[in-house]
């Protein structure tokens, strides 16, 4: 064994400033992805808040182009340094940092999801929601009531209530958006549910019952997506919205429409929704869900790959400037 001892003289900075102590701690315990923010002086300690840069890799499988984007999350943690000893007295645990980063990414995901729902729910996009056969099971009362109203068959409150409370709950959504109303009657229970002029005008504009139903379903989805889950326990739309958000979320970060395989889209969706694995039932039905999203005109096929729709993408791309992301520099020539 080589026993030569090499001695080397190194001049290092003395950790005599709070930001140096904090940075030393950050490098040791968290990693170089963190950055310091302005130090705050307190009575007997300094508070050094820090943020984190989180890289995200996005790849277009068709063109094999890849982009590394960096999310910047401010004030993700803090290091408190005692003035008397210039030592760390308290610091955010690494585990909490992980949770907070996840939380911020969920916020961004939710932002994209909300915007996407508003875009696809707008009747001008002509999304064919009735193609979501699986999702329609949960909205059957709404769907049936809409068909009846558009065929000018007006059920009484009693008739609907006799089927169950869930029926009345879903009809109330139509009342809320002003597409149906109860006719005045001697008693509430005998009141008939009738189509409003707003629904009749939509019917004329859309040209067919089927297209009118699609438009109303879109409006209900954009207005009540979260309400449907929380209050009415209707989750059937969730896998469709998640897959679409996963796709468009990545495309927005990439800055243009992407072409990805079905398997990759499943991974993207899982990553987008904080690593929660796709449930077995959804996993099994995934090709069907993608097929229905294409039929509904939210996604499109690009040969063997899946891509998005230009009209939807253009409505969403403006939000890219609102995201806390920056792009890695390009390769030097």
């Amino acid at each position: 064994m080589n026993t030569t001892h090499i001695r080397l003289h190194l001049r290092i900075q003395k950790l005599d400033r709070p930001e140096l102590v904090a940075y030393d701690r950050i490098l040791r315990r968290y990693g170089a992805g963190c950055y310091l923010q302005d130090t705050e002086e307190k009575e007997d300690y300094w508070r050094v808040p820090f943020g984190v840069h989180v890289p995200s890799k996005i790849r277009d499988e068709k063109t094999e182009r890849e982009k590394i984007l960096t999310f910047s999350f401010d004030s993700i943690g803090e290091v408190l340094i005692r003035k008397s000893s210039m030592r760390v007295m308290k610091a955010t645990p690494l585990r909490s940092l992980g949770k907070r980063i996840q939380g911020r990414r969920i916020e961004i995901g939710r932002m994209v999801e909300q915007d996407l729902i508003k875009v696809i729910g707008n009747p001008i996009m002509h999304i064919q929601f009735s193609k979501f056969r699986h999702a329609l099971q949960g909205l059957e009362p709404l769907y049936r009531t809409l068909v009846r109203l558009l065929q000018e068959e007006y059920p009484t409150y009693n008739e609907s209530a006799s089927i169950g409370d869930y029926y009345i709950d879903q009809i109330s959504l139509l009342l809320d958006i002003g597409y149906a109303q109860y006719s005045p009657s001697i008693s509430d229970t005998h009141a008939k549910l009738i189509a409003t002029n707003k629904l009749k005008e939509l019917r004329v504009r859309e040209g067919s019952i089927e297209k009118t139903i699609d438009a109303v379903l879109g409006i209900i989805l954009s207005e009540f997506y979260y309400d449907l889950q929380r209050r009415m326990r209707i989750f059937q739309f969730v896998p469709y919205v998640k897959a679409s958000t996963g796709y468009y979320g990545n495309a927005i970060q990439f800055g243009k429409l992407l072409s990805v395989s079905q398997e990759r889209l499943k991974e993207i969706t899982r990553e987008y929704y904080r690593g929660v694995p796709v449930t077995e039932r959804v996993s099994y039905a995934y090709p069907t869900i993608i097929g229905e999203l294409v039929e509904a005109k939210i996604l499109e096929y690009d040969g063997d790959y899946i891509t998005g729709r230009e009209e939807i993408f253009h409505k969403l791309i403006d939000m890219r400037s609102e995201l806390p992301i920056s792009e890695e520099p390009v390769i030097l020539s």
């Binding site: 190194l10 001049r11 968290y30 990693g31 170089a32």
Partner: protein
């Protein structure tokens, strides 16, 4: 110039692992007489691809903590030690390279290119000239070297407080001199102002 045996490609937070791997390979080649347990000199051996995979598992969302580099090298029973240092200036980098120790430098690459703050990027420094530093950059692999203009690099390095990761054989010893952030002249000036 320090000759690294192989370039390892990496992006995002994995650049630290790639840099650590390049430096470990360098020491494996340069110091064959050290107690290398399983690490072969053949750098295409699966040991080295597993090295990278295992290394990546030590990376957190916030990057690779330097404590984890130590742990990682320990689990592989490498005869190397790792530490991070906050150097006084770039002279320290030159000293390390003169001693044939390739330092892993953490600098803000986005700041270097675009003057905006970004992720700290790890590269291995292998040489220097009067006006440039020569780096082996995992993000530009297989390109063996990338030149960084010193004047811009120093600004970008300052964003990461002149941080450097040093991996060297355990038999190496460093004599460290801690330099206070306020020198005597500045201190006296401050005192004087305080008295006014």
């Amino acid at each position: 110039m320090i000759k690294l045996p192989k370039m390892i490609a990496a992006t995002g937070n994995d650049c630290v692992v790639a840099s650590v791997q390049m430096v470990c390979m360098y020491w494996r080649q340069e110091k064959p007489n050290l107690k290398w347990k399983d690490a072969p000199v053949d750098f295409d051996d699966p040991f080295w691809s597993n090295f990278n995979k295992k290394g990546v598992s030590y990376v957190r969302k916030t990057g690779m903590p330097t404590n984890n580099i130590k742990r990682f090298l320990k689990t592989l029973e490498m005869p190397l030690s790792a530490e991070h240092q906050i150097l006084e200036d770039s002279q320290g980098l030159r000293r390390l390279m003169d001693a044939q120790i390739p330092p892993i430098v953490l600098y803000d690459r986005q700041y270097y290119f675009k003057q905006i703050h970004g992720l700290a990027h790890a590269v291995v420094f292998v040489d220097y000239t009067k006006e440039t530093f020569v780096s082996a950059d995992p993000a530009f692999a297989p390109k063996p070297t990338t030149r960084l203009a010193e004047i811009d690099f120093l600004e970008a390095w300052k964003q990461n407080k002149n941080a450097v990761i040093i991996i060297n054989p355990k038999i190496y010893r460093f004599i460290k001199t801690e330099i206070p952030s306020t020198n005597l002249l500045q201190y006296l000036t401050l005192e004087e102002r305080g008295m006014q």
